[in-house]
Symmetry: C2
Subunit: 339 residues, 2 copies
Amino acid sequence: MSLTLEGIAKLAGVSRSTVSRVINDHKSVSDEVREQVWQVIHDTGYQPHAAARSLVTRRTRIIGVVIPEAVTKLFTDPFFPLLLYGITETCNIHSYHLMLSLFNGPVGQREMYRRIVGSGHLDGVIIASAHLDDPLIPSLRADGLPFVLIGRHPGEGIHTIDVDNVGGAQMAVEHLIRLGHTRIATIAGPQTMSHGADRLTGYRQAHEAHRLPVDKRLIVEGDYTEKGGAAGAHRLLPLSPTALFVASDVMAIGALKTLRAAGLRVPQDVALVGFDDVGVAAAVEPGLTTVRQPIGRLGAMATDLLLSLIEKPPAEEATAHHIVLPTRLVVRESCGVMR
Amino acid sequence: MSLTLEGIAKLAGVSRSTVSRVINDHKSVSDEVREQVWQVIHDTGYQPHAAARSLVTRRTRIIGVVIPEAVTKLFTDPFFPLLLYGITETCNIHSYHLMLSLFNGPVGQREMYRRIVGSGHLDGVIIASAHLDDPLIPSLRADGLPFVLIGRHPGEGIHTIDVDNVGGAQMAVEHLIRLGHTRIATIAGPQTMSHGADRLTGYRQAHEAHRLPVDKRLIVEGDYTEKGGAAGAHRLLPLSPTALFVASDVMAIGALKTLRAAGLRVPQDVALVGFDDVGVAAAVEPGLTTVRQPIGRLGAMATDLLLSLIEKPPAEEATAHHIVLPTRLVVRESCGVMR
DNA sequence: GTGAAAGCGCTAACAT
DNA sequence: ATGTTAGCGCTTTCAC
């Protein structure tokens, strides 16, 4: 494959420029010549050299996906695989490539960032960090590289896309309220991450909407691990809530185990709703009512948005997109009916 | 960042070549000048343009990771996330980048392959396909692009790396045999994939080693899904095996459910050993004895091997590497002791 | 509609 | 030890 434009040109009996025009689908080439050149290209299996092309077009057709905090999340959570899947699907459709960068937390992040962004490898970046104050974000803005953030962010003019964490949580808790529960506890996620904060907001909004007071003692914060869920449930049990809204899949598993160990039945003794980051909890506990999130679509839409940003750069300071994908409640027996 | 070598050269009062030498750490530059140039580079935050560099060096410092059959596996199986994690770790250490390609099975694979490999984007590729007859492999060999296959492959001269599926399975089954079991059934994986075949081989070898006959009816094939595991167990129950070796994590969960639904206790009625693709089954069922595989290290070592292939191309037809990482048996109560 | 020629930013001989 | 020069393979004016 050390065939170049020049080679094709010779074989087709035309000039480099003509072959280039054919490849890039320019108008001004006679149908006859175009046909012929394509023939040669196909016969030889020629492919233009990406680097050479990038050098002049300043485009690579590569987008980056940056996932900080890989260690902790990647194993436990099928969120990232699904997200990646959605992203690659869309990349495949549009003939883009995907460069994946995983970090182990903030250490060396700054330097990694420079390596990734500074080398000009990327046309744009998807950041899958829900940290509300991620240091990458100001850097990216400064560099003027198109990027889309998965999650929410307080900053201005940042394109974000997220599943509806607030709405999902609210739906879940309202469901419990409608079943008659009034002492609904929650094991929330980390409040420094947007989904953690949002799901708690939803919990609060549900109470407000139904004029139910929020008992702060019924709110504990977990860390999205099974252990955290178990510990959270442990702290909540003495307060004898009748229902429990757990802000993540994996924590729900932990909470379930604690409940069972305490001899409590679900939903007879404690009703339970989880946030289904993708089905782990539901797989373990088929009866679990959960909020379902379209993670694959999230990845796909993030990519679509990014590509549109890349291909038609928005007019100076056009307003940023903030896409929110609806979540839905999958009701199963774990909520029971309040006796 | 539209600063170029030329710019740095001017600022430092030297020529392009000198700056280039400094960047590429060539010997022949006076310490004084070298120092000075680095200063300017740091001050300006200059980074060489990757495409321009690649165009002349014919190196991109990007490796590809190709995962066919993404749809089916990616969700269910934490194998890929862990593998990716190991790979990125190693890439980070060596300042390589990772391009991820996921396919949905063979459709369009050929064309995707050309896009990925033909464009010259990649210095090498890791193929995470255990299909014994993956069509990518001959193509890659023909192209002369360095690649490492995760899994096993019948072809000559192919660098492969895998966890010890045969040994792990054999260890697991021998453990059951030592506990006194003689009717050990297995739910095997797909026999068209190397790990599927290998784990069954291990099962057979364990029997041979202990001069135990293999009852073919006790071997059923699953598809690595929970459903497949449940169905497999269902087919095996009438044959009343005293022990069960399940060739995958997820299938073990399915099998467990079937056993329970049938009112059978583990290990009292049926002893169980699983193949822990990463802990899903063990998480669900903490008492489950499993074969543990070092998937993260698998990714890391695959990358190390690939990079060494890239950086010092082996002498014409040096013998290929076939690395096998040991697995170990994590014994928990699910094996019980044969009464 | 087509070709000739100028570069994109870098590295690597080749001079000095 | 440093500068000069010639490309790497492509796109893109600019002529014709």
